[in-house]
Symmetry: C2
Subunit: 262 residues, 2 copies
DNA sequence: AACTCAGTTCCAAATAATGGAATTTTTGGA
DNA sequence: TCCAAAAATTCCATTATTTGGAACTGAGTT
C-alpha cells in the first residue's frame, strides 16, 4: 500500500514542518496565514499549529501585522553550517587564487538533487558582507557549475535526476531539451570544461569545471563568471585551463587532507 | 499542572528534532551517533530515528565515516533569512557610513533571549565572504551591543531575562554580578552609550548604542569595534556620538520606512 | 573464536498530530 | 461609529506517529 502517497515533504511530522518552513522562508514576500494555507494544502487547524510551533522554535517570526517571516535561529544554524563545511574550507584558497588570476567572480557550488547550491563566492569590489548568493539555489541544467557537476555523475544517477526534469527557459540560450543537455554533458566530459553563455541570466557568461569525490559522495563545480561585455570567447578559452587546474587542485587536496583511505 | 515539565526543546516533535539538530550543528567537531546520544539524553532508538529524519530532510548530513555534519539545506534557508531581513536592510547604509567614518569594524546585533545575534558586519580588509560572525550568538551581558540592547528593555522584561542568568567570566573585566550589571545599564541609559572594554574578548574594545522599536518588538544595537592597541579612551569617546547618531538615524528610518502606524 | 562496542532494527504502548467545525478577532466599508 | 465579511485562532474526539526497551548486526580486538 501507500504507493503514490509518499513523495516529498515526507519525513513524518518533521518533513511537513520543514515544508511549511521552506514555503514561508523562500517566499519573495512575507506571507500571512491564508497565503500559507493556499500553498501548503493543509487543513486550517493543522497548519496553524505547525506555524505556531515554528514560531516558538524561533525558525519563523510572527510580526505584529500577522505576517510570517524567517526567524533568526536559521541564521545561527547556518553560520555553523557554513563555517564548519570542510569542503568549502579546503577549496577556499584555490578559489582565491583563481580570483587573483582572473580578476572576476569565482563560485563554488555543490549539487543537491537537481539544484546547485552556492557554497562560496570570491568577488573583488563590494563591501564585505554575507553574500546573498551564498546558500542560493539555482537549477543545475542551466548554470556553469551545474552542468559541470552533472557531467561528473554516472549514467544511473544522471538518469534518475533527469527523469521528469522540467526545463524552464530563462534566456534564449537556455538548454530546454533532454537530448540537448545530454549532448552538452558529453562535450563537457570530453573537454573537462563547461561554458555558460548567457543560459541562465542574460549578460552573464562563465567557465566551470567539475569537482567530485566518489568516496565522499561529493559532486560540485568551480566557475569564473563575468559580464558578457567583458567576457568574450577568447576570454572564456583563456580561463578554461586555469579553472580546470583549480578544480584538479581542489580534488587533489581533498584526498590528501581528508584521507585517501576511509 | 505541568509546572516543571515544560522548559526547553518543548514544541512536541519539532522541538526535540531542533534540539538535536542544534546540538550537532553547533558542536565544534563532527559528532558520531554515540556523541549525540551522550548530550541528547534520549533513548537509542528514538535518537536514531530523529537523526535519520534530519538527514532525510537535508538538515544534517551523514558522512561515510558515520559522522553527522550540518546539511546544506540550512544554508539555503539562512540565505533567505538574511536576505529578507528588513531590519538589516534598513540599517545597512548607516552601518557603512559608520564604517567609513571610523575605519573600524561595525556590527549590528539583535537581542534574542539572553543572547545577541549578529545580523550584519562591515569590515574593511579581508576577502569578501560570508562572515563567520554573522549569525553568531554571544551573551548579551558582556558585549557592547548586548549591553546597549539590555539597557533599552523595560524593567519587567529585563527582570525576566536576568533571573537565573549565570555570569561567566571571559576576561578580568567581565561583569559578573547582577548588581554591577544593573549599575552599568543605568549608566548606559543616561548616556545612551555602552562601552565594552575587553569584557568579552581580551584586546577588543567597542562603543555601542541601542536601537529599538517598541512597535516592532525589536531590541538591538550598533557598535564600532577595534583592537585595544588602536582604540584608547580618547578614541572611544570620539566615536560615541557618531555611534549614537547612527543608532538614532536607523530608528528614524525604521519608523519612516516601515510605517509609523501598525 | 569469543568479546566488545557502535550502530541499527523491531513493535506494543504512549503520546502527539490531525482536521472539521465552532469561536473570536480583525478588517474595511457604509 | 457600527456592522458584516474575512481572517485568524481555539477546541477536542479520532487517528497516526513517536517512543523506548530490548534484541540484533557487524566491525574491530583480545
Amino acid at each position: 500500500m501507500a504507493s503514490e502517497r509518499d513523495e516529498e515533504g515526507g519525513t513524518g511530522t518533521l518533513g511537513k514542518a520543514m515544508s511549511v518552513l521552506e514555503a514561508v522562508a523562500l517566499a519573495e514576500r512575507p506571507m500571512r496565514f491564508t497565503d500559507v494555507l493556499a500553498v501548503s494544502g493543509q487543513p486550517r487547524g493543522t497548519l496553524h499549529r505547525q506555524l505556531s510551533h515554528l514560531v516558538q522554535e524561533g525558525l519563523l517570526e510572527l510580526r505584529p501585522d500577522h505576517a510570517y517571516v524567517p526567524g533568526l535561529r536559521l541564521l545561527k544554524l547556518a553560520s555553523a553550517s557554513w563555517a564548519r563545511n570542510e569542503f568549502r574550507a579546503v577549496a577556499a584558497p584555490f578559489l582565491e587564487a583563481l580570483h587573483r588570476q582572473t580578476g572576476e567572480t569565482v563560485h563554488l557550488g555543490v549539487l543537491r538533487g537537481r539544484e546547485i547550491i552556492y557554497l562560496d563566492k570570491v568577488e573583488s569590489r563590494q563591501a564585505v558582507r554575507m553574500n546573498s548568493q551564498i546558500g542560493n539555489a539555482s537549477p543545475a541544467y542551466c548554470t556553469g557549475v551545474g552542468k559541470a557537476a552533472l557531467a561528473a555523475l554516472d549514467a544511473e544517477a544522471l538518469d534518475a535526476l533527469l527523469s521528469g526534469l522540467e526545463f524552464r527557459r530563462f534566456t534564449p540560450q537556455t538548454i530546454t531539451s533532454r537530448a540537448a543537455l545530454l549532448d552538452e554533458l558529453a562535450r563537457i566530459r570530453l573537454s573537462g570544461i563547461a561554458f555558460d553563455r548567457e543560459e541562465h541570466e542574460p549578460g552573464i557568461r562563465c567557465v566551470a569545471a567539475p569537482v567530485f569525490d566518489a568516496g565522499r559522495a561529493l559532486v560540485a563545480g568551480v566557475s569564473v563568471t563575468g559580464p558578457a561585455y567583458r567576457v568574450g570567447e577568447v576570454q572564456l578559452d583563456d580561463w578554461a585551463p586555469r579553472v580546470r587546474h583549480a578544480a584538479g587542485a581542489i580534488m587533489a587536496e581533498l584526498s590528501a587532507r581528508l584521507g585517501p583511505q576511509r
